[in-house]
Amino acid sequence: MNSAAWVDWIVAALMVGGAAFALVGSYGLAKLSDFYKRLHGPTKATTLGVGGVLLAACVFFISAGRGGTEQILVALFLFITAPVSAHLLVKAVLSLNAADRPPQPPDDGQGRP
């Protein structure tokens, strides 16, 4: 390990930041009152929390000269998939509580029985 101290500082900051987001996200998931609000928690945890940790790993391995591309790939996949799952969750809940919603506009192609 021949990385400079400032690299260690950056890695540590990113790690702690990511972990903090993950903690806040989990706390929010447990604490917030209604589904739509609670959904904010895990989305922050997956994007900012995991993203921070991945960034830390990336910086660490690049500075150590042992690659670092895998972490970027993981982040890429995560950023593609995480929003989709959140989106689907919302859609599912919206359809479950269909009565609470304003009526659909007629032309969005969703009028199937």
Partner: protein
């Protein structure tokens, strides 16, 4: 010379291959291929004639089984030569006949293909120079005759007859195999020369009796000897050319051929005499008696065949040299006249549309040529002088009179032989008189007339032979008979004269008596007993057989209902219980003294504790919430994830990846399956059952834990692991030992596993309905119109190429780093499901429908070919090599050949998983709506 033998044997098989590829419409081509191959094979064998007549035994052999005296050998002595020519000669005639017999709707090429397979098997049987090889061909005749008898697959009686004949002859074949193995052990070799020379040893051996009985069981079942004869009449549901071939010269003759073949080795004891001759006698009399009462033309011929086979068996049982010669002679004669009679019966059936002798009358006016030929042949069957049947029957009578040593039998056998001969005169007369005279036809479906010329040629040829042999026996058949009978007698041939007239003697008297009694019997039956009204259905063997089969099926069904009654709970209960009981037994077994634990236990770090707690918590949640199926699935997923991570914590990245992907795939499968289940299961079990289940679960859990603890707390035995680690680079050119084990050290296992996997996937696809079932969507989201998600659709399409890339990456690096074909295949399969999840099955199918079955096939082919290449280079199957081709631009590319094997694994796994997933997805229709994801 050796090549000629091999070519003669190979020709029918090659013709069969060609015919299987031929479209069924090409009727003349099919007949030409079959006929050409038959004639060519016959010519090749005929060329061995001079050598055979000179007393040589042309033979050829190649090493076959890896022990002494089991070569793949062909051998042509007189018996084999004559039999082979009989098989091929009558085969050629039947080929010609069948071309005109089969209608345009019958699949002609398939008929000839099966026919050639049967002929090849029969030829192999008679030419085999090795008892094991003989048994192999014997079984092949059973199987191919099954297919031939059941040729008209749409007819229930054909299917039943075929099944019956297969069951009886295959069971006999098993007995024969047992007998042959015993015999080979006694002799110390399976080669025919050795076996034939070892007669003294065999007969004196303590195993002689079981050996004899087992071999005779095989022969008797094949030659339809009483009481195993009942399959033969049922086999009459076959097309007539098949009957003409199987029941004259070939299938049923295989049994008597075997008796003749082994006669020098096994005959000559009291046991042989009594078993063989009494079985033959019983068959002779019963067959002839029942034949008289058959109203079906082919039924009459079937029972007459049984009776004549009994006669031959009886002759071999008497076992004097002269009786043996007579037996061989009658084999030839019977083949000739019975083949022509069957073909004549087929002509009548073909031209009138009926085989019922109560309706067929007066046909001599309508089909005079057929009538003449049939009369000649049936007169030969009845044993009328100037025809071949007379000669062998005369010899038979003479031999029945030579039993002075056994007072009771010396009276009974000649008497019963004469009675049976009278019966045979009666049924032969009935065949002629009923069909060709006796008034006018009754309500025939067609107007009878003579058949096409070429249909009569085979019958005419054989009828002519009957006459020629009957009139000029010494000239026509004398030398052939001598050379055929010599190996059966097993020593010097006795003196005999083949002439029509031997002066007034007792055999002649018996013949004349039989003729008169037979005629009188027939007239009496017609006039006094109104034969046509008698319905004589022989009961016995078939009923017992049917009852046995029915009982076996009932028992199997009852057992199945008991164990697998469609309730998953029941199956799981029984499996768990069985595992528990078996596990307890191992505990009861005496334990080796346990050495104290030597290695220090690994202390669990914080990661292990966290994973353990995670697993426990999600398990507890799973148990508490298991009635909410979707929720339970989430907890199950967490458990799976924790298990995967445990592998990671224990430094097993390959296992981690595999387990993770399997978890993903199985959760996906379960999600798709949930569409068919209610969202929550209600509690209906009575408390007693719940306590029982809880106890069982607890027992199983404790048992597994105990086992794991027992394994972990004992010193590790010397394992193969260090060897694998040391040899994975030098031996298999890969640094990832796990993958190297899969694709190199244990590649054969892997080949078996992917084969099973591929088969299972194809089965899943076959069992699931092919059409989408509508209305199975239980998702309230879909019902409420949550509909499609544009975001998911687009993302899933973007993800597919990315996932494919990852799959290929895992595959390529697999040999040296965690990954490999299995992991890559799973990744690809999951990726392939994504678009259907996002956009719906319809959307995907409109664009492309990959044939995953073909992937499985290509994968298996790729893996197998990789192994075969190393075999071709004279290395053991699936040996790895290291290639380093220099490609332009890329420079040197290191490739272990195990990679091609891994490519096969990759394709098979991807195909199998994708096939199962997409089929289930298509069925449930859930991905269509995206509401479930």
């Amino acid at each position: 010379m050796p090549l000629q033998l091999l070519a003669a044997l190979a020709l029918p098989w090659l013709a069969a291959l060609a015919l299987f590829a031929l479209p069924n419409g090409r009727r003349n081509t099919a007949a030409a291929i079959a006929g050409g191959a038959t004639l060519l094979a016959a010519a090749l064998l005929a060329m061995q004639g001079p050598a055979v007549f000179a007393g040589d035994v042309p033979h050829v052999s190649w090493p076959w089984l890896p022990f002494e005296g089991a070569d793949f050998g062909l051998r042509v002595d007189g018996l084999a030569w004559t039999f082979a020519l009989l098989v091929l000669g009558i085969g050629a005639l039947v080929v010609l006949y069948a071309r005109y017999y089969l209608s345009a709707d019958d699949p002609m090429a398939r008929f000839y293909a099966l026919f050639m397979v049967f002929m090849g098997a029969m030829l192999g049987l008679v030419l085999a120079d090795n008892l094991l090889l003989l048994v192999v061909f014997w079984e092949l005749t059973s199987i191919s005759s099954f297919l031939l008898i059941g040729y008209w697959q749409d007819r229930a009686d054909a299917r039943r007859g075929a099944r019956l004949s297969l069951t009886i002859t295959a069971l006999g074949g098993l007995a024969l195999l047992g007998g042959v193995l015993l015999l080979g052990n006694i002799v110390g070799s399976f080669q025919l020369d050795a076996v034939l020379a070892a007669g003294e040893v065999v007969r004196a051996h303590p195993w002689y009796a079981p050996t004899l009985v087992l071999i005779l069981l095989g022969a008797f079942s094949k030659s339809a000897q009483f009481p195993l004869h009942f399959w033969l009449p049922q086999a009459m549901a076959a097309p007539t050319p098949v009957s003409a071939y199987l029941h004259s010269a070939t299938l049923v003759k295989a049994g008597v051929f075997l008796i003749a073949r082994l006669h020098p080795t096994l005959a000559g004891t009291d046991l042989w005499f009594y078993v063989v001759s009494l079985t033959g006698l019983a068959t002779l009399v019963t067959g002839a008696y029942i034949a008289m009462f058959q109203h079906d033309l082919k039924g009459l011929l079937a029972y007459s065949t049984i009776s004549h086979l009994g006669l031959i068996t009886l002759l071999f049982g008497l076992s004097t040299p002269l009786a043996t010669v007579a037996g061989v002679f009658h084999i030839l004669n019977h083949a000739i006249f019975k083949a022509s009679l069957f073909m004549a019966a087929g002509v009548i059936d073909h031209e009138t549309g009926s085989r019922d002798m109560r309706r067929l009358h007066g046909l001599h006016k309508y089909m005079p040529l057929t009538a003449v030929l049939a009369i000649v042949a049936s007169a030969a069957m009845a044993g009328v002088p100037l025809l071949n049947g007379f000669l062998s029957k005369e010899m038979f009578f003479a031999e029945t009179l030579q039993l002075d040593a056994r007072p009771l039998l010396s009276v009974a056998i000649p008497l019963l032989a004469t009675v049976a001969a009278a019966f045979s005169v009666a049924y032969s007369l009935r065949f002629i008189h009923d069909v060709f005279w006796n008034g006018e036809p009754v309500a025939l479906p067609q107007n009878p007339h003579d058949p096409p010329f070429w249909m009569l040629v085979p019958i005419g040829t054989l009828a002519m032979l009957c006459l020629l042999v009957g009139i000029l026996p010494a000239l026509i058949v004398g030398p052939v008979l001598a050379v055929t009978a010599a190996p059966v007698v097993g020593g010097a041939l006795p003196d005999y004269s083949l002439s029509i007239w031997h002066g007034f003697n007792l055999p002649l008297l018996m013949s004349v008596l039989a003729l008169f009694v037979g005629v009188a019997l027939y007239v009496m039956l017609q006039r006094l007993f109104r034969l046509h009204d008698l319905v004589h259905l022989p009961r016995g063997g078939r009923e017992i057989f049917d009852a046995t089969v029915a009982a076996a099926v009932r028992a199997a069904r009852a057992l199945t209902d008991l164990l697998v009654n469609g309730s998953v709970q029941r199956s799981v209960l029984l499996i768990t219980l069985a595992a528990l009981v078996l596990g307890l037994f191992t505990l009861l077994a005496p334990q080796p003294a346990t050495a104290p634990l030597t290695a220090a236990a690994t202390s669990a770090g914080p990661v292990a504790w966290t994973l353990w707690l995670l697993t426990l918590c999600s398990l507890a949640a799973l148990i508490a919430r298991h009635r909410e199926r979707l929720e339970a699935l989430v907890y199950l997923g967490v458990v799976g994830l924790a298990v995967s991570l445990t592998f990671g914590a224990l430094s097993a990245p390959d296992l981690l990846l595999t387990q993770l992907l399997v978890e993903v795939a199985s959760i996906l499968l379960l999600l798709l399956a949930l569409n068919f289940l209610p969202q929550r299961s209600s509690r209906t079990d009575p408390p007693r059952r719940r306590w029982r289940d809880a106890g069982l679960a607890l027992g199983a859990g404790v048992g597994i834990s105990t086992l794991v603890y027992a394994v972990l707390s004992r010193p590790r035995p010397d394992s193969l692991a260090p060897w694998f680690l040391e040899n994975s680079v030098p031996g298999a050119f890969g640094t990832n030992a796990v993958n190297v084990i899969l694709v190199d050290f244990r590649a054969f296992d892997t080949l078996g596993e992917i084969t099973v996997l591929g088969l299972a996937a194809v089965l899943v696809a076959a069992l699931l309905p092919h059409t989408k079932t509508a209305g199975n969507i239980k998702s309230p989201g879909a019902a409420a119109g949550a509909g499609r998600s544009l975001m998911l659709e687009i993302t899933s399409r973007v993800m597919l190429p990315l996932t494919a890339l990852v799959a290929v990456w895992f595959f390529l690096r697999g040999h040296n780093l965690p990954g490999g074909g299995f992991i890559g295949g799973l990744v690809l399969a999951i990726g392939l499901l994504l678009p259907s999840l996002g956009s719906g099955v319809d959307w995907v199918e409109q664009r492309s429908t990959p044939r995953f079955e073909a992937w499985i096939g290509w994968g298996l082919a790729c893996a197998t070919v990789t192994g075969l290449v190393s075999l071709a280079l004279e290395h053991p199957f699936l040996t790895s090599a290291y290639l380093a081709p220099v490609l332009p631009v890329i420079d040197k590319v290191p490739i272990a050949t195990a990679m091609f094997f891994d490519l096969g694994v990759f394709l098979t796994v991807a195909g199998a998983a994708a096939l199962a997933l997409t089929r289930l997805g298509r069925l449930s229709g859930a991905p269509h709506d995206g509401g479930r994801t």
